[in-house]
């Protein structure tokens, strides 16, 4: 599967990046392609391009705050979870996607 994801937490200092790392790591293990955009204290990094989004099968939002530029994902299936869930149990998250 081709996945795009956005992570964002209230302070944008630690959990945004932990969730991103966890998503990338787990996707790799499960054989998915993933690109994760972080919306944290340093602003938006690893920004998803229109092409990235167009080519994706679905989007994951691991966010405790509103995702910026959400309209970009208008035509995509979005799975929304809390940042904690992405960090603590990423395997369960990806298993859920398959269904």
């Amino acid at each position: 599967m081709k996945i795009v994801a956005v992570t964002a937490c209230p302070t944008g200092i630690a959990h945004t990046y932990m969730a991103a790392e966890q998503l990338e790591k787990t996707a790799r293990q499960l054989g998915h392609l993933i690109k994760v955009e972080t919306q944290g204290a340093m602003g938006i990094e690893n920004k998803l391009s229109a092409a990235d989004i167009q080519g994706a099968d679905l989007a994951i939002f691991a966010a405790d705050i509103a995702v910026q530029n959400r309209e970009r994902f208008a035509n995509l299936k979005i799975v929304e979870v809390a940042v904690q869930d992405a960090i603590k149990n990423p395997a369960a998250l990806f298993n859920g996607l398959a269904e």
């Binding site: 302070t11 200092i13 630690a14 990046y17 204290a41 340093m42 603590k88």
Partner: protein, 851 residues
């Protein structure tokens, strides 16, 4: 009549100490001296400390001294000098009321547990103290009859005057016996009140004219003056009312015995509620406590003070700080809630009192005490250590003194030298010049006390503003641009040589140097050299032992001197910039003129350029360069001072510990880089902004250091772990105030707990108190529950602190990288298995350095 207009120079206003100095300055003259505050229209007899204090004069108020009488010219000259030289320095060693307190109403969650009752108040003296409450009774003024037993004004008056004499004698002996300088100063201020003509004559009038009983006359007069003081705009002056009541009570005690209002019983101990155990450690609770009552308490058992409506600058609070007694003021209803014998924790950091603290809170306060102890240790270590920047640049920190009386405080504050000994006090207020032997005694005392440390003695710096009867200096329109200091040395060689001989003799006993004031050309230095040689020759002829030579320095305070260090260096061994005068001469701004306050700015780009040039010339001439003005004592200016490359900074002694601490955190190269940028600034505001940014950035290197790792911590809960980590940040200089960070961390923790379910918790906070983004690591002895729903016990805690503004923060990237790395089990295992702090540091640093 002579009128002198001036702007009141002291930040705390005209309180007892400057008022008593002003009184002393007026006393030698027969002329009538009236003090007028032109802002509020109040006026006072300048010989009455109380009337002066009651004039409610605040900093920068426009004031006028009016002098009329036979010797008004002489008095005018003396008072002008007093206003210019002595008054601005009257508060130099006043214990500063500012101390590090927690400036937030927020309380950590541990305060909400159990049956703790928290009474919020105001911190008066820092520290934490716990013990059982000893409640002292509140006393009231009561109507008093005739002290003599009958309506006999004469007898009553005699009794009153006897009482005054007794109290004066008591205060004098207490001041002399006081081991603590603050206590002695307060006793002296009280002495000034009891001897005050305004106060005493009013009472005498009431007794003799109105036939009042002495007690009633004292009470009425006290009430009048207290009323004026309490209406004052300055908090400091309002709090002087407590001193007046103390004096009234002492007088009452002498007149009536212990029945008097509010009488203290130094011999009999404090007034104790019945049924209270008077032994063991105690927290004393008293709605009002006068300075003499505080002095009468047994301080060995005193763990804390809980007072009623008492201000930060009241003498009771000043004493509490001097004796390091944690003290909190509570509002009137709250203080009544405290019952005798119950356990109290006085929190002089947060300004609150906890009744019956439970085990969790006690553990929390144990951590707080530990931090305070470590901080005190850090300061004490700084005191003994030479000042040095983070990159190893040595700077000598010296003290300015005006007389040998200030010596004890100088060394206690950790001065490494005396950078400026003003000798004028030896010469003022006398009919004849001080004999050489008398001067020798003073210099000798300083030399002995310095134990080999350098002492720079400034030679006579006097002009037409300070008339000396034995030195006929002309009266001048503008004595500060006049015939003063080194400029009259040629005409008064004997006076100068007596000083030089005395110094040469004393220099056998220590490392004395001389410094010449007001130099504007080489010929002046050559003159002093010649006088010095003559003085030494005379001593040799008289076979009086003396030092073979003295280092001779120049006080750089005229722009002319500042621009000719290369020439002056031929005759001078060292230079010290007198920044106060140099600035006023350079900018043509009278620093005593309130209207010009904004112009008198050491950050003026032209002035900084001048200093830059001076520093370069001094280096070229291979002469060491010091600075002894107020600029040297300002921690905000420090990066510029370091950047300029001064060898020595000399300041009022109390400023020394903070300056040393700040220096240790600065990096010489970074300071020089800042200075290079500042040299391009076009206005002072621009310099100030650059400085502010620089100071805000903080100088701690890297995001983690050895001081930020604690293994085997005794913390058992998230509350303790977070507190301990925040304290590590403060102790390491990463944050100014651990509690403010703690607050930010807990606010974050409340949105959801930051344990990851992997045995790790990652609390973090963003706050203005954070100087530089940092992480701290803690491993508890036993795994702890974090409080979230996570079942996994937490075995390691990583706390992240981020400044409020993080624009261009390189550190944020590092922390993001660290957070990502924590998602990998091998990294977590390394941190959990590490045997020592060094391994933890290495693992984290490797992770941060990775691409």
């Amino acid at each position: 009549m002579i009128a002198i207009d001036f702007a009141f120079p002291l930040a705390n206003g005209l309180h007892a100490r400057p008022a008593s100095l002003m009184q002393e300055a007026c006393l030698p003259f027969a002329s009538v001296c009236r003090f007028r505050n032109l802002r509020n229209g109040r006026h006072a007899d300048a010989r009455s400390v109380l009337e002066l204090v009651a004039s409610d004069t605040a900093a920068h108020d426009a004031c006028r001294l009016e002098i009329s009488g036979a010797d008004e010219k002489k008095a005018g000259r003396a008072l002008r000098a007093f206003l210019r030289q002595d008054l601005p320095r009257a508060d130099d060693d006043l214990p500063t009321p500012a101390f590090a307190t927690v400036q937030t109403a927020w309380l950590p969650p541990v305060f909400q547990h159990g049956a703790v009752s928290v009474l919020p108040g105001r911190a008066l003296a820092p520290g934490i103290g716990s013990a059982r409450a000893l409640v002292l009774q509140k006393t009231r003024m009561v109507a008093l009859g005739f002290a003599s037993g009958k309506k006999d004004a004469k007898k009553e008056l005699r009794l009153f005057q006897d009482a005054c004499r007794e109290v004066e004698a008591e205060l004098r002996s207490q001041a002399a016996a006081a081991k603590n300088a603050t206590a002695a100063a307060i006793m002296k201020a009280h002495l000034a009140i009891v001897s005050d003509p305004g106060f005493r004559e009013r009472i005498i009038g009431l007794i003799s004219r109105n036939k009042m009983p002495a007690g009633a006359a004292i009470a009425k007069t006290t009430l009048v003056f207290c009323g004026i003081l309490r209406r004052s705009a300055s908090a400091y002056l309002r709090e002087r009312a407590g001193d007046l009541e103390d004096i009234a009570a002492r007088l009452g005690e002498k007149l009536y015995g212990h029945l008097a209002p509010g009488s203290p019983h130094p011999e009999r101990g404090p007034r104790v509620h019945k049924g209270q155990r008077p032994h063991g450690p105690q927290v004393v609770v008293a709605a009002s406590l006068t300075p003499s009552e505080l002095l009468a308490l047994d301080r060995r058992r005193l763990r804390g003070l809980v007072l009623g409506d008492v201000g930060l600058t009241s003498h009771t609070a000043i004493l509490a700080r001097a004796f390091a007694i944690p003290t909190v003021a509570l509002p009137a209803p709250a203080i009544k809630e405290v019952s005798a014998g119950e356990e109290l924790t006085v929190d002089g950091q947060r300004g609150l009192v906890c009744r019956k603290p439970g085990p969790a809170l006690k553990r929390y306060y144990r951590l707080e005490r530990m931090k305070l102890r470590l901080q005190a240790g850090q300061l004490a270590a700084l005191r003994g250590r030479p000042a040095q920047t983070a990159d190893g640049l040595r700077i000598e920190i010296a003290a300015n003194i005006g007389g040998s009386k200030e010596l004890a405080g100088v060394w206690r504050h950790g001065a490494e030298a005396i950078g400026l000994f003003r000798t004028e006090t030896l010469f003022l207020e006398r009919e004849t010049a001080p004999p050489e032997d008398e001067q020798f005694a003073a210099y000798h005392q300083v030399a002995i006390s310095a134990k080999g440390r350098p002492v720079i003695i400034r030679t006579l710096d006097i002009g037409g503003d300070k008339p000396l009867p034995y030195l006929s200096l002309p009266q001048e329109e503008n004595p500060f641009l006049g015939y003063r200091a080194v400029r009259f040395y040629a005409e008064q060689p004997e006076l100068v040589k007596s000083q030089l001989r005395a110094i040469l003799r004393a220099a056998r006993h220590g490392n004395l140097k001389i410094m010449v004031p007001m130099v504007s050309g080489l010929q002046e230095v050559r003159l002093v050299r010649r006088l010095l040689t003559e003085a030494a020759d005379e001593l040799r002829l008289r076979k009086i032992p003396h030092a073979p030579r003295l280092e001779l320095g120049i006080m750089v305070e005229t722009p002319a001197a500042a621009l000719s260090l290369d020439h002056l260096g031929k005759e001078a061994d060292f230079f010290s910039i007198g920044s106060n005068d140099l600035l006023q001469y350079f900018l043509a701004v009278d620093r005593g003129n309130a209207r010009l306050n904004a112009l008198y700015d050491p950050l003026h780009p032209a002035f900084l350029r001048l200093l830059f040039q001076v520093a370069g010339q001094a280096r070229k001439a291979k002469r060491w360069l010091g600075i002894c003005g107020e600029m040297a004592a300002n921690p905000e200016y420090l990066p510029l001072i370091i950047g300029l490359g001064f060898d020595e900074l000399s300041m009022a002694a109390p400023a020394i510990p903070l300056i040393k601490e700040r220096i240790a955190k600065l990096d010489g190269e970074a300071c020089r880089a800042l200075l290079r940028r500042v040299m391009h600034c076009t206005e002072a505001a621009e310099v100030a902004a650059l400085l502010k940014e620089f100071n805000g950035r903080g100088r701690a290197a890297g995001v983690i250091g050895a001081g930020l790792v604690r293994l085997g911590s005794a913390s058992r809960t998230a509350a303790e772990a977070i507190k301990e980590l925040c304290d590590l940040m403060e102790l390491d200089g990463r944050v100014d105030n651990a509690s403010a960070l703690e607050e930010a961390v807990w606010k974050r923790e409340e949105t959801f707990a930051t344990d990851l379910g992997l045995g790790f918790a990652l609390p973090h906070g963003k706050a203005a108190t954070v100087r530089t983004s940092s992480v701290a690591f803690l491993r508890p002895r036993q795994p702890m529950r974090w409080g979230g729903k996570s079942s996994a016990p937490v075995r390691a805690v990583l706390l992240i602190a981020i400044p409020a503004t993080t624009k261009g923060e390189e550190h944020l990237k590092l922390i993001a990288r660290l957070s990502r790395r924590l998602m990998h089990e091998d990294f977590r295992e390394t941190l959990l298995a590490a045997k020592d702090a060094k391994t933890v540091l290495a693992a984290i640093r490797t992770c941060l350095a990775a691409k």
